[in-house]
């Protein structure tokens, strides 16, 4: 690595660390801005007596000042401790590990499918610009892009609920089945939520790839390639698409970063027990440690993926360091 590359990597790395620290503090403040807490949330549950609520507040340090809570939070974080979930008294890291393990396959599948399909449809609509193909593909992509995710999920449930599982990750009572049967069962449950993720992401990939492809198609080297008498498909894949995919790198990196964050709406509609649903629950319950932990992991994931994208960008196009 030459000096400018090392400087670039260091500068970007330092920026990433500062971003993470700021987000850590921001997360702490953000969730405490609204009135109320986990304890006040229990005030309409008859079995959560006032004495119990006081004991809970003492156990989780909620009666301490916000500054004290912040210092304790930072100290624990430096020791790698994300705290204990208020809702089930278990370590946040343990909860999140399970949630992420559930989320990543489902969201990855949908994202990967969206990247592949979106790239193909984007290239096809650019190559056949201003034709029925172009209008059909971009129109469809825009429609899916504009549908509210939860509405799209519910429509898929209405349409396909009689043939595909619409909730959870496994067929109930299928405990102790051979691993391959469990895997197929999980895949079967993954189809509708992954399809929803794919359809919601498809639009942006189609449009970004189409736009980048059109830009590349107007370059002189494409004209030269055509003038040399190269076949259309060779011009497209060797000269246009390869150059058009550069801006798509950022979008892919961002998408990968967000995989860890799950898809809150998709997981909520399909009751998929991943990190998105856990965040939804934690917001409802004011479970601060879970929220802080989930957002910290999401932040690290997005920042790291962006950092890697920056480095990749530098590798693909060294001019960005200037």
């Amino acid at each position: 690595m030459n000096r400018s590359a090392a400087d670039y990597a260091l500068r970007r790395g330092a920026l990433a660390l500062v971003t993470i620290f700021l987000v850590v503090s921001f997360n702490f403040v953000l969730f405490r801005l609204l009135p109320g807490s986990f304890v006040t949330n229990l005030s309409h549950i008859p079995n959560a007596t006032p004495a119990f609520r006081r004991a809970i507040a003492a156990e989780f340090g909620l009666e301490r000042s916000k500054w004290e809570q912040y210092i304790i939070y930072l100290q624990q974080l430096l020791h790698g401790n994300l705290g204990v979930s208020y809702a089930n008294d278990r370590p946040v890291l343990s909860n999140l590990t399970t949630d992420i393990a559930n989320t990543v396959p489902m969201v990855s599948l949908g994202t990967l499918a969206a990247i592949v399909l979106g790239t193909l449809t984007g290239v096809a609509s650019a190559w056949r610009r201003r034709t029925v193909v172009d209008h059909g593909l971009t129109g469809t992509a825009l429609a899916f892009y504009s549908f509210p995710t939860q509405w799209l999920g519910l429509m898929l449930i209405l349409l396909l609920g009689s043939v595909l599982p619409t909730s959870g990750m496994h067929t109930p009572f299928l405990i102790g089945a051979p691993w391959w049967k469990s895997a197929l069962d999980e895949l079967h449950h993954m189809i509708l939520p992954s399809l929803t993720v794919m359809l919601t992401l498809l639009g942006q990939y189609t449009l970004v790839v189409r736009s980048a492809t059109l830009e590349a198609m107007s370059e002189d080297y494409v004209l030269t390639a055509r003038a040399k008498g190269l076949r259309g498909s060779r011009v497209l894949w060797r000269h246009v698409v390869r150059n058009a995919l550069l801006p798509v790198t950022t979008l892919v990196a961002l998408s990968i970063g967000f995989i860890v964050g799950g898809a809150i709406l998709v997981e909520t509609v399909f009751s998929w027990p991943g990190i998105g649903l856990a965040v939804y629950q934690a917001v409802s319950e004011r479970d601060y440690p879970m929220l802080q932990g989930a957002f910290l992991l999401l932040t690290i994931s997005v920042v790291v993926c962006n950092y890697l994208a920056d480095l990749l960008y530098f590798r693909l196009d060294p001019r960005v360091a200037r």
């Binding site: 007596t49 009572f173 079967h188 909520t268 009751s271």
Partner: protein
């Protein structure tokens, strides 16, 4: 976690694309058809619920769905039947001493925990004494069920004696909620001065090792946001459940839950909203059951006497006028689609004898409401809004977000009627947590609020919410009446049911007169299930409830 599942995950991503491309055919179907457990005659029932089972540790969980799981997996001394009368469970009989300070229970002989070890009165005594010992620490969650209890002892395997510091009329109703835990399993966590480790024990099952319990079922698999499986407990002392396994599936989307029922992916749904019930009724393959529930909706006045503004709202005459201006029939018909009853008292008719039949629902009478406000001297302003203490009678009504839906429609009906009596209302929605912060008494943060309760069948809880001692606790109205508080203490100490009932009625009369909050609707409890199943024991809190095991033990295929 199942190791087969962990191993499988590595293959999922690569195989997934293929699955999507090939459009893998269905190998799902109905919940019963998916069953692999048990023999040919075994049946597996799959319920849909919309509350997560937050923990299998009774010292941690607060969700009613978790408490319902405990009801089915841990014995309690007594339970309710479906008519909400207290009946035997682990205790076969009981007796209260004449001074009300000692309760003696005869418990089941030769009972066993699910792991085959003896289940005796000593386990019950240990549970009670442990909760008392750590009442301000790790056992605070359960300590509320032991109001007035001093200690417990087990002179022999089948006898439990509970010693009271003072008589508690609601003792049986309270102790009913206390799960009896296996001392053998839990005693190692009851340590230290605070008993904090009682809360850190996950109490999760693992393959081949169900959670040790003593109820009709035992937990064999747990997933907080997924499916929890309960299997028939072969060592249960009572009559065994008809189904071999009971699956409880969490749904975060109620709409998706109802679709899953229609599609046959689940067998039954516990708790359906009124609008959902109508959509299910058209489906002939489903049964929709509704009955008056323990679910009351209220219009709260902040009666805290030291408020600085809008003091007119603390006057009983204003409460009375507002009560006359509420059209309960319209509210029931349009906001709740007919799935509610007009309410008149915080002690609901579903509680049976505790509801004072002498208290009638106030008539909808705008003329009377106007008359009362005129007599109070609140003159109508030029813009049709009355003036009280120099201020227009124009108020913000806060609404807790779990009231939204029917509550919004209720507000629109109220708003129209209140305009006709010269009172202007504006709605502002709050999260439940924020609403709770506003209503902690003494409070000056609100004047009017719409919220609700899902109270237990025994009247003590609801009656207690109006006592002065509950400032900072359950009180949301700021109502404080020394006579009422005296009556509350008397009913708590009453040692005969007749005497207690008489005092409870007196207290209801006080509330009907002073109207600290207007109870406008008692929402029905609605459940639904496939016609393939029968035998559900419906209660005022549905078939899956911490009140009784009778909701599901007799469910079987038709």
């Amino acid at each position: 976690m199942n190791s087969a599942l962990s191993r499988s995950r590595a293959l999922l991503l690569a195989a997934g694309t293929l699955v999507l491309a090939l459009g893998l055919g269905s190998f799902g179907g109905s919940a019963a058809a998916n069953s692999t457990g048990g023999g040919a005659s075994d049946q597996n029932l799959l319920l849909g619920i919309h509350l997560d089972i937050d923990s299998l540790n009774p010292f941690v969980a607060v969700q009613v769905s978790s408490l319902a799981v405990y009801e089915y997996t841990y014995p309690a001394l007594v339970q309710y039947n479906t008519a909400l009368q207290i009946v035997p469970y682990f205790a076969t009989s009981w007796q209260q001493s004449t001074n009300g300070l000692t309760w003696t229970f005869t418990t089941r002989s030769h009972a066993k925990w699910s792991d085959g070890t003896p289940l005796t009165a000593a386990d019950a005594a240990w549970t009670i004494n442990t909760v008392l010992k750590y009442a301000t620490g790790g056992a605070a969650e359960l300590a509320g069920y032991l109001a007035g209890v001093k200690s417990a002892s087990a002179p022999n395997a089948d006898t439990l004696v509970v010693h009271m510091a003072q008589p508690e009329a609601a003792f049986l109703a309270d102790i009913r909620e206390m799960p009896i835990l296996p001392k053998e399993v839990w005693s190692r966590y009851a340590t230290g001065t605070k008993g904090a480790t009682l809360k850190t024990f996950a109490n999760d099952p693992s393959p081949g090792h169900p959670v040790v319990g003593g109820g009709p079922f035992m937990v064999t698999s747990y997933d907080k946001l997924g499916v929890t499986i309960l299997e028939r407990n072969p060592n249960y002392f009572g009559s065994k459940p008809d189904v071999a396994e009971l699956g409880i599936e969490y749904f975060s989307s109620p709409d998706a839950e109802l679709e899953a029922l229609k599609d046959g992916q689940i067998d039954a749904v516990w708790t359906v909203v009124p609008s959902g019930a109508n959509s299910l009724k058209a489906d002939k393959s489903l049964v929709v059951h509704s009955q008056p529930g323990l679910n009351v909706h209220d219009f709260i006045f902040n009666d805290y006497s030291k408020q600085k503004t809008d003091l007119a709202l603390t006057l009983p005459v204003v409460h009375q006028a507002f009560d006359y201006a509420i059209n309960r029939s319209e509210i029931v018909k349009y906001a709740f689609d007919g799935y509610a009853q007009p309410a008149s008292s915080p002690i609901l008719s579903a509680t049976g004898k505790w509801h004072d039949p002498a208290i009638k629902t106030p008539p909808y009478d705008l003329a009377k409401a106007n008359q009362l406000l005129n007599e109070a001297g609140f003159k109508m302003g030029a813009n049709g809004v009355r003036i009280a203490d120099g201020q227009p009678m124009s108020y913000t009504v806060y609404m807790a977000d779990d009231e939204l839906g029917p509550g919004t429609e209720v507000f629109q009906i109220m708003k129209g009627d209140f305009q006709k009596i010269g009172v202007q209302l504006t709605l502002e929605a709050l999260t439940d947590s924020t609403a709770a912060t506003y209503t902690v008494q003494p409070s000056t943060k609100f004047h009017l609020m719409m919220w609700g309760w899902t109270p237990p069948p025994d009247p003590s809880f609801m009656l207690n919410t109006y006592t002065c001692t509950q400032f900072g606790g359950w009180s949301e109205t700021g109502f404080c009446n020394a006579t009422y508080d005296k009556l509350f203490d008397e009913q708590s100490a009453a040692t005969t049911p007749t005497k207690r009932l008489q005092i409870v009625y007196q207290m209801e009369q006080v509330l009907a007169k002073d109207i600290p909050e207007i109870m406008y609707a008692d929402q029905d409890w609605i459940d639904a299930w496939s016609t393939k199943w029968t035998g559900f024991g419906e209660t005022a809190q549905g078939f899956f409830t911490p009140l009784t095991t009778m909701g599901l033990v007799h469910v079987h295929e038709t």
